[in-house]
Amino acid sequence: MRPNTVGWLMLAPTIAILGIFGIIPFIYVLYVSFHQWNPFGASPDMIYNGANNFRRLVFDAEFLTSIAFTMKFAFFAVLSEIALGYLLAQLFMKEFPGRGFFRTIHTLPLIVAPIVVGSVWRLMTTPSIGIIPYLLKSWFGYDLNIGRDATAAFALTVIMDIWHWTPLVTLTLLAALLALPKEPFEQAQIDGANRRQIFWHVTLPMIRPAILATVFIRLMDALRTVDEVWMLTSGGPGAATRFVGLHIWKIVFPKTDYGYGAAISVIVLYLTLVMCWLLYVALVARRERKRTF
């Protein structure tokens, strides 16, 4: 066996970079969160103020609604993406001409930069230059104006996310479906099971690990969505699409309220990590344990 020193040396740069850019900022933000600090405000110095920032946070309606919006967004987006992605993956299991070609086209949105996705949807939905408000108006008489209608703006962010990320779900579920053995399906058919029974009792249990892993990854990303929404609605109208990432940005940069921004960052980071960890344990780790039997 070679000495482990060599192994540590190989890991060292990774640990160093992630330590400097992962741990130091975290300690620093934790430190700032216990201070009142607005360098461009009335008192530019950092003043220790205990847990005041955190106390303020509990009563900050804007912060709480931004959390609620983020959760609502993640819930609707991920649920629709999983359902739609599964249907599309099943459609890719059929034999038809040009399957590989269509799969390539379907994968395309994945590589588009979030900021470009936001721009595209803005171009499509801005009243008077976009095609969507125009068609909705002339076909259904519906007046889509995401600058005014909060519900429409929110729905649009979800639809945009579905366009952008469903392909990822389709691909992972397709990979899972392709890896399934054929025998259980044949057996179920011989036993006279109908389609719905096959789905619930054969397909679903077998691809559950893949579905759960996909939910985990998508949820993690949906909770941190900022760029697309920033470009599409800038958080508006009002604060209808101001997700938590945007809220932090607005506190830190235009308002330069560093102490309070740090407190929000700490809480959001804590909530995200706890949620990811719970999901990881509940969804992914349970599967690992099962596999060892």
Partner: protein, 278 residues
């Protein structure tokens, strides 16, 4: 299961592909329209093509600078990250290091944190802590290259680990018996075998770095500003220049599209996140 006519699926997928492609097509339509035509009745059909938006964007020295910055930053970052992840995965796979699974999980947690949470600490570190005299990490390419490691390095380690684990240990041992040094084992045995996995990692990390916006918008002002940030500048200033914005968005899309077309098949395989065991 009873199967429908293949032509039914073909028709269905044609329709779905139209839905997928339409937003990108619309981006192109807007990018080749003169400003005066934008506010006439929106039309799906493109009758005249007007390239002036592209000419203006490419002729704009500032935007050209942003594009070069983006190229430098994402390329250096992708190579750095892939190289470091290769070494790290090799160490995790072949050495009996204490607590290595915890280290592996810790690297991944770096990707879980929302980027917005780190805006403030990075901003403060870049402007006030990592400074030497007048020199600051803020608005430097090297700063952005290192910063992007925080989300790209965990991803790279995550995707590369199965590849390295999949290379039989016997090959290392055989080479060592023949007198090869650790370095020779890595460069002459492992590297050639891991090349497909390395290529996928390199490309995906490149795309992530190229596409990143939030951190670049916050931590650069001019010298290291990237093209995605340049794109956003066309919206936030009063009176959006829609045509120019669409042209920049199209240009931002092109390198990713080319790369994607080349490696499409491998990306599909690389995106299963270990959910599928062959």
């Amino acid at each position: 299961m009873q199967s429908r006519n293949p032509l039914f699926y073909l028709a269905l997928w044609l329709l779905l592909s139209l839905l997928t492609l339409f937003p990108i097509y619309w981006l192109f339509v807007i990018s080749v329209k003169p400003a005066v035509d934008l506010f006439t009745t929106p039309s799906v059909i493109l009758d005249t093509v007007y390239w002036k938006n592209y000419v203006n964007v490419i002729g704009n020295e500032t935007l050209r600078g942003y594009m070069i910055n983006s190229l430098i930053i994402s390329t250096s970052n992708a190579f750095l990250v892939t190289g470091l992840a290769f070494l790290a995965c090799y160490a995790l796979s072949r050495f009996d290091l204490a607590g290595k699974e915890n280290i592996f999980f810790w690297t991944i947690t770096n990707r879980m944190a929302p980027a917005a949470v780190f805006l403030l600490p990075f901003y403060l570190l870049f402007t006030q802590v990592f400074t030497f005299g007048d020199w600051k990490l803020y608005d430097t390419k090297i700063g952005m290259i290192l910063l992007y490691c925080t989300f790209n390095l965990p991803f790279a380690i995550w995707t590369l680990r199965p590849t390295i684990d999949g290379i039989p240990k016997e090959l290392d041992e055989a080479a060592t018996v023949d007198g090869a040094s650790t370095w020779q084992v890595i460069s002459e045995v492992i590297f050639p075998l891991a090349r497909p996995g390395l290529a996928v990692t390199l490309i995906l990390t490149w795309v992530f770095a190229w596409n990143e916006f939030l951190l670049a918008a916050t931590l650069t002002s001019f010298n290291a500003r990237t093209i995605t940030t340049g794109l956003s500048e066309y919206v936030t200033t009063t009176g959006t220049e829609w045509g120019a914005m669409a042209a920049i968005a199209m240009i931002t899309l092109i390198p990713a599209l080319i790369i994607f077309a080349v490696v499409q098949r491998h990306i599909v395989a690389g995106l299963t996140f270990g959910a599928v065991k062959e």
